[in-house]
């Protein structure tokens, strides 16, 4: 047994507490910007958690995960544009559309391995990007303004910023719980087994292709939910939310936080987006710092922040 009080646990608990208490602080200080920023961070963390399920636990290096953000977002946007404002319609449609899309893309992409898989998921995501950019009826390149957020029954009001933040946070925690339960189930064990040795898993009788596909679809659907939230937060959806650099951002969050750990993607999302915000405050050319920083993480910080914390823990113990 690991001692209960270690850096990893402390950081996780502090982060959760901070996320839960944040609206209290922003309410008292009147810092609305911080609440908006963190709503976005929580939504992106949800997307990163979904990517972690397939990338971290399943070993499927999708470089097209942002496509589901777009599908979920456009499902809400298009329905709102056509006058369907009911969230009980919009959100299930967003989830179903992402699931269906993930099923088709997954069924094709999972026929391949390794670098082919990376490039194919990337290419399909770009295809989706160009498809939505070509839809003149729904704004094309310029995107689609959403005039009214999804409507739910009486007490739920997505236009209330604090309430919306807590809804996003609750969904994020729900997703983490779901992924945690999944990865500790028989299904999750099979997925992780296929990640480490696919041939052996098949030899002992697991149809790994189907397991992977189910994992792919669950991850895509969860990310579609994040897309629906993102569209509601921005009151706007445009093809740029599924541009391939977004997929890159999601991968960075997962790797930076720590792959195949339940809270790693959340830590990664907070770290990356806060860092971006801080760097863009310093210089207009902040990506010239972020790029090399990323290189350094790849070269020297294996296992991401979670790995660093784990190493710090083992040092303290020894």
């Amino acid at each position: 047994m690991r001692p209960a009080l270690n850096f990893r646990t402390i950081v996780t608990v502090v982060l959760i507490a901070a996320l839960v208490l944040l609206p209290l602080y922003t309410g008292l200080s009147g810092n609305r910007f911080l609440l908006t920023l963190f709503t976005r961070i929580v939504i992106m963390a949800l997307a990163a958690v979904s990517l972690n399920l397939m990338l971290g636990y399943g070993g499927m290096m999708s470089f097209g995960h942002a496509a589901y953000l777009g599908i979920g977002g456009y499902a809400v946007g298009i329905l709102a544009h056509e006058g369907v404002l009911n969230g009980f319609v919009q959100w299930p449609v967003a989830l179903a559309a992402s699931a269906l899309f993930a099923l088709v893309i997954g069924a094709l992409s999972l026929r391949t391995r390794g670098v082919y898989f990376i490039m194919i998921t990337l290419a399909f995501a770009q295809m989706t990007y160009y498809t939505f950019a070509g839809l003149a009826r729904y704004g094309g390149d310029d995107g689609l303004t959403i005039y009214k957020r999804s409507q739910f029954v009486a007490p739920i009001d997505l236009s209330n910023k604090t309430q919306f933040y807590y809804i996003c946070l609750a969904l994020l925690f729900g997703a983490i719980y779901l992924v945690w339960r999944l990865t500790n189930s028989r299904f999750g064990m099979a997925i992780q087994g296929a990640r480490s040795n696919d041939i052996r898993m098949r030899a002992i009788g697991f149809p790994t292709y189907r397991y992977r596909l189910v994992c792919f679809v669950i991850a895509g659907t969860l990310c579609g939910l994040a897309g629906a939230l993102l569209a509601n937060q921005n009151d706007f959806v445009s093809p740029s939310i599924m541009y391939w650099t977004r997929s890159g951002d999601l991968i960075i969050m997962v790797v930076l936080g720590g792959m195949a750990t339940p809270f790693g993607p959340v830590i990664g999302a907070v770290a990356l987006l806060v860092l971006e915000e801080a760097l863009s405050g310093i210089t207009e050319y902040w990506q010239i710092i972020l790029g090399p920083l990323l290189l350094l993480v790849v070269l020297f910080a294996r296992g991401g922040i979670d790995g660093l914390l784990a190493r710090a823990d083992s040092k303290v113990r020894s």
């Binding site: 990338l55 290096m61 470089f63 094709l108 992409s109 026929r111 391949t112 390794g114 670098v115 082919y116 990376i118 490039m119 194919i120 990337l122 290419a123 399909f124 770009q126 295809m127 160009y130 498809t131 939505f132 950019a133 070509g134 839809l135 003149a136 009826r137 391939w244 650099t245 890159g248 991968i251 960075i252 790797v255 050319y285 902040w286 990506q287 010239i288 972020l290 790029g291 090399p292 920083l293 990323l294 290189l295 993480v297 790849v298 070269l299």
Partner: protein
């Protein structure tokens, strides 16, 4: 008919240009097992260098040659500083590291050349149209691009299949340790191969520069097409890259030119106008999906990966 011939030539020209990118990508992957997302950055840098050097020297050809050498140099520096450290790592590490490089290069270009795009104008002897068939005129520059890329493709073939360096490259691809043990400086060889890939990307960029605007992010859109090509052709296969590049070049160009008309015949005018732009940009991805269903390893898989 004239339009059709013209579009076919455009398709050929675009396909050959894509081949230059895909060849570099597939060469680097086949030999170093390296996934290089930043390949498009080298394409962009080639174009920026060409525009700058052509303005300095006042000569298009001289500018192009200088740009080619400069891109080769940048490629070799990138190999020594970054890539060398990540060979043998997980592909995910390659993706992240080269993604970091893209951010760096995009921002560096913005810092040096500013956010506005550049343009590269052609000398008069290249900008005039020439008559290729009775009554059919075609851009002299695009013809020149076709000739140059064909020459480069021939050069690549001779280099890889018929020279000592090419032999070492192929040997290094199949067994790195063995070639090193036989006394070949494999590190230098890798640097040269990466530099060659960079130069090919730079050449593609500088040749595309007069046709399109030179701008930040220009490499990223086209490099994804190059990925599609390497997947269709089979990663590591230069022959596959050539066939797939031509296929993609033709389908993309002809699709954009004629697909809306075909759609208009089948559907109502409004439906066609809505769907055509979205569908014609999907064509090559559909091609990729079909190839994947039939041959998941690509048309000409190199077989050793």
């Amino acid at each position: 008919m004239t339009l059709f011939i013209e579009q076919c030539l455009n398709g050929l020209q675009f396909g050959l240009l894509l081949f230059l990118l895909a060849a570099g990508l597939t060469l680097v992957f086949g030999i170093m097992d390296l996934v290089n997302l930043a390949h498009g950055s080298l394409y962009m840098i080639g174009a920026y260098f060409a525009a700058t050097f052509a303005a300095w020297t006042g000569s298009f050809v001289l500018g192009a040659i200088l740009a080619l050498l400069a891109t080769l140099l940048v490629g070799m520096v990138v190999e020594v500083v970054v890539m060398r450290r990540i060979y043998g790592r997980d592909h995910l590490d390659h993706v992240l590291a080269t993604f970091g490089l893209i951010l760096f290069f995009d921002e560096a270009v913005r810092l040096i050349w500013g956010p506005a795009g550049l343009s590269l104008s052609l000398p008069p002897w290249l900008s005039a149209p020439v008559q290729i068939l009775p009554g059919v005129n075609y851009s002299a520059y695009r013809l020149a691009v076709i000739v140059v890329t064909l020459a480069v493709a021939g050069f690549l073939y001779v280099l890889v299949m018929r020279t000592r360096i090419g032999m070492l490259i192929r040997a290094g691809a199949s067994n790195r340790e063995m070639v090193g043990a036989l006394g070949v400086n494999i590190k230098l060889l890798y640097t040269l191969v990466f530099g060659l890939g960079a130069a090919l990307a730079g050449l593609a960029g500088l040749m595309q520069a007069p046709i399109l605007t030179v701008q930040i992010g220009m490499g990223e859109n086209i490099v994804i097409l190059a990925f599609v090509i390497t997947v269709i052709g089979g990663i590591g296969s230069i022959r596959g890259a050539l066939v797939a590049a031509l296929l993609v070049g033709f389908i993309d160009t002809l699709g954009r030119a004629f697909f809306p008309d075909i759609l208009r015949m089948l559907l109502s005018k409004e439906a066609a106008a809505t769907l055509a732009p979205a569908l014609s940009s999907m064509l090559i991805y559909l091609l990729m999906a079909v190839v994947l269903v039939v041959k998941p390893e690509g048309l000409f898989s190199a077989g050793n990966k």
